[in-house]
Each structure stands twice: as C-alpha cells, then as structure tokens.
C-alpha cells in the first residue's frame, strides 16, 4: 500500500515537474523544476532498493550538476524570458506523442523472462552499498578507472574553456559598468 501511494505520487509529480522544465519560458523556473524532479527520481531509486544509486543521484545530480548549472546561469541573463521561434509545434508534439506510444507499447509487451539470468545477483542479507562496491571494484574496475580519467579530462576542459577572459562581464555591455560607477560617485 505504502509503495503504491509513493510510486504514484512520485511519478505524477516527476512528470509534472519535467513538463514544466520542457515547456517553461523562464530559465530559472526550468532549472528549479529540473532539480526538484531529480530529487523525486532519487525517491524512485530508494523505492527500488537501490539505496546507493539514490544517494549518488542526490549528491552528483542535485548537488553537483544543478549547482554547475546555477553557476553557469550567472553568466547568462536568467531574468529575461526566452523567446523561441517554433516553426511547427504540432509536428513536434505528434512526433513526441508517437514515440511515447511506441515506447510504452514496447515496455508493456510481455517479456520471455525465464530466459533472463542475473549476471551479478544481489545477495540476501548484504546491504546494497556493500553489494555495489563488491561488483564495482571487481568486475567493473577498469570502466570505473576510465570514468575517473574521463571526469578529470572533463574538469580540465571545463576550466580551460570557461576560464579565459573571466574578468570581462558577459551579460551587459561596458556601458552598464560605467553607469554603476556613476551611481556610486553620485552617492
């Protein structure tokens, strides 16, 4: 009972929040609803017994990625509404709806599940974090290290790309800075 209520609550809220993310004209609203939707998705992970994945979702997605987005938004003008010229919105919704129907039909189709065997089965009486660590550091050690190297490369790339000419203001022209200085002088 508890699981059913939680599942439907999370799914309705997550779908609504992601619709706001996709449809909203304001960057701030889109980003906030995206962060809230990611918190709800970590709720799905906790419901599914993937505790460690839920914590990683909270720490890495909500903590790191959304913080990165909000820092990046400081460079762009976030208060203005975004004007987008949609050439054919009906076609977009037709394509999106069709792909939704196809995906739902594919996923709702019966699976011949007897043929599927667990490659790395979960153990009874062992916590999820311990189980994940055992598999991650034995069977997936090389992908794990490659992912670490990839994150290092991405960090260096981000610093080098964003770090040039950081002393210049991006959102406003130079006249705005002069105006602020003038107002200071008048005071």
């Amino acid at each position: 009972m508890y699981e059913i209520v939680a599942f439907y609550l999370f799914s309705v809220l997550a779908i609504g929040l992601f619709l706001v993310t996709v449809m909203s004209k304001n960057v701030l609203y889109a980003m906030t609803s995206l962060a809230a939707g990611m918190v709800l998705i970590s709720g799905f992970f906790f419901l599914l017994g993937a505790d460690f994945l839920g914590v990683v979702q909270l720490v890495a997605y909500v903590g790191a990625i959304m913080a990165l987005y909000s820092f990046a938004m400081m460079f762009f003008d976030a208060t203005r509404d975004i004007k987008e010229k949609n050439t054919n919105p009906a076609l977009v919704f037709l394509l999106g709806g069709l792909s939704a129907v196809v995906l739902v039909m594919m996923f709702a189709a019966p699976i011949h599940s007897d043929a599927i065997q667990a490659l790395y089965p979960m153990h009874e009486g062992v916590g999820n974090a311990q189980d994940v660590g055992m598999v991650l550091f034995t069977k997936y050690l090389i992908p794990f290290e490659v992912a670490a190297l990839m994150l290092l490369v991405a960090m260096i790339a981000g610093i080098i790309l964003a770090g040039k000419k950081m002393d210049q203001s991006l959102t406003e022209d130079i006249g705005a800075d002069d105006e602020i200085l003038k107002q200071k002088d008048e005071k």
Partner: protein, 100 residues
C-alpha cells in the same frame, strides 16, 4: 502491486517529455535541460530492471550514466560560455551561418 511495467512506462513517458523538449527548444541551455531529463528517464528504467531481475548490472550502468552526464555538463557549459562570449546569445537560430 507495482510491477516492472509500471516503472518502465513512467520511464518511457519521462523520456518522451525529454524528447519533446529536445525537438522544440531553440535555446541551448534549455536543450541541455531536456537531455538531462532523458538521461534520468533511462536511469529509472535501469534501476527498475535491476530490482525486478535481482541483478546489479543495471545499477552499474546507471552509475556510469551519471558519471558521463557530469562530464557532459562540465564540457558543455564551458562550450556554452565560449559561445556566449562570441555571439552574445544562446539561440540556435542565430548561430546559423549557412544561408540556403
């Protein structure tokens, strides 16, 4: 009882929402948000399959997807800042330089 199909259908719906976002957005930052929505939808499907088949492989894939999403955001936002410095806008239609 909530079964595997419930989770997969929710995942498919969220993925389609992200797809609609990718198709209709013209602002690059909003396009990034839509791709994050799609990545999260796939993670739900992986975690659900991992739970219902009692297999840890799905969770492993979800971890690597999160790592890839993090590096994608770091490099992508750096590129967005470079583009914004060069053109002063993030609108995709303004970047079109080939007339045809």
């Amino acid at each position: 009882m909530i079964g595997l199909s419930h989770y997969l259908i929710v995942s498919a719906l969220i993925f389609s929402i992200g797809l609609i976002g990718v198709l209709r957005r013209r602002n690059l930052l909003m396009l990034f948000f839509a791709t994050e929505v799609m990545l999260n939808a796939v993670n739900i499907a992986f975690a659900a399959i991992s739970h219902y088949y009692n297999d840890l492989t799905g969770q492993m894939f979800a971890f690597f997807i999160i790592a890839i999403a993090a590096s994608e955001v770091a490099v992508g936002l750096g590129l967005l800042i470079v583009l914004y410095k060069k053109y002063g806008t993030l609108n995709l239609d303004d970047f079109a330089s080939m007339k045809g």
